[in-house]
Amino acid sequence: MFTWFHKLASPPYFYKFAQNVAPWTGWITLLLLAAGLYGGLWLAPPDYQQGDGFRIIYIHVPSAWMSMSGYAFMAIAAGIGLIWRMKLASAVAAAAAPLGASFAFLALVTGSLWGKPMWGTYWVWDARLTSELILLFLYFGFMALNRAFSEQRTGDRASAILALVGLVNLPIIHYSVVWWNTLHQGPTVFVGTHSDISMRMLVPLLVMIAAFMLYFATFVMKRLQFEIIRRERSTAWIRELL
């Protein structure tokens, strides 16, 4: 197991591994997405308060979930690259960042689209939306710092430190925003407030979350292949490959 892991960490080996595995996870992602959307948009009953409007949670909740866990994933990968000097881990973090940022962006867009029928306006300073907005800027900071240096190695290490600081800070940010929000008694309409969420609503949501996770995994692998080519472009095995 350990030797396999060790082997996987070498860029040429991983490149081939991703080449073989990504199509499979890609197809499973598509199947899960189809199943989840069918379950969410047709099978699940309309919400008794929100009607059909609630169905946006099948996009909003998984993307919000992936944007948060994606940041943790990215920060841990970057930290491994920083501490154990593992090049592939740094490349993983760099590949994951734009994906996590796009999930945060998607969560913001779907959240405000949802807000229009619920609150009558596209933007309210709701705790979750505000947290997503700050998270998006944390991603932007990581991406900007990662590419700011002429030496990729320096960019990797500097942005890894930033990501770790962000990881410590993220729960504090989230908690402070929630605290700030409750002071205002703002309109908060969200899933999870219903204790009796129906199984026919919940199962498609879980399927969608699984689909988003696999989507993330697939595209981290695909992006990682480009990262590897970009970073290793002066090595012999890449020249052979191209």
Partner: protein
Amino acid sequence: MNGALVALIRRDLQLAYRRRGEMVTPLMFFIMVTALFPLGLDPEPMLLRTLAPGVIWVAALLAGLVGLESLFKSDYEDGSLELMVLCPVPLELVGLVRVLTHWLITGLPLVILAPLMGMLLSFPSSAMGTLLIGLLLGTPILSLLGAVGAALTVGLRRSGMLLPLLILPLAVPVLIFGARSAAMAVAGDDVSGPLYLLGAMLALALTLSPFAIAGGLRVSLEN
């Protein structure tokens, strides 16, 4: 090693004294930004009173960014940073000393000036104590966070653009608890909660950020 620390502090203060003109800039910025709000809004005392906590805290946050990029810049450029890394004093302490002297010179005067700005914004004197304590706890956190960003970007030629993007999202909790505590004091509520949280965050920042600062400086030197 204590002697070495004292020497570091003394050198940093000496340097700050020789360049005292630069140290006034963040303070001027703070006063200007605060004074601009009544001009941009309505000088209606009740409105200003509501906005004052947020205005003062946002102005303090932004003033902390002024000149931040120069925190380690001259050490990086004149080679002193290499000597600091190679001296037997841990770089974590060297960084912490620098942040504390920086705060003493730019942060503390700002805190002292805050009641004056509060008065200009019709901030009630009964809540002034909370505003002061909040700023005393909060501005060192902002300095520590700012130093992390300054250390990470010291090797970049144009770090001024990047720094706010790196620092401001991390500073959100300080802004929320700081400004809220002042607003709650105006409303006559119990402010111990947010102030304790600010204190806890200061303790966390004091213990963890020196490692991030030292790591950032080492990474920047490798370039």
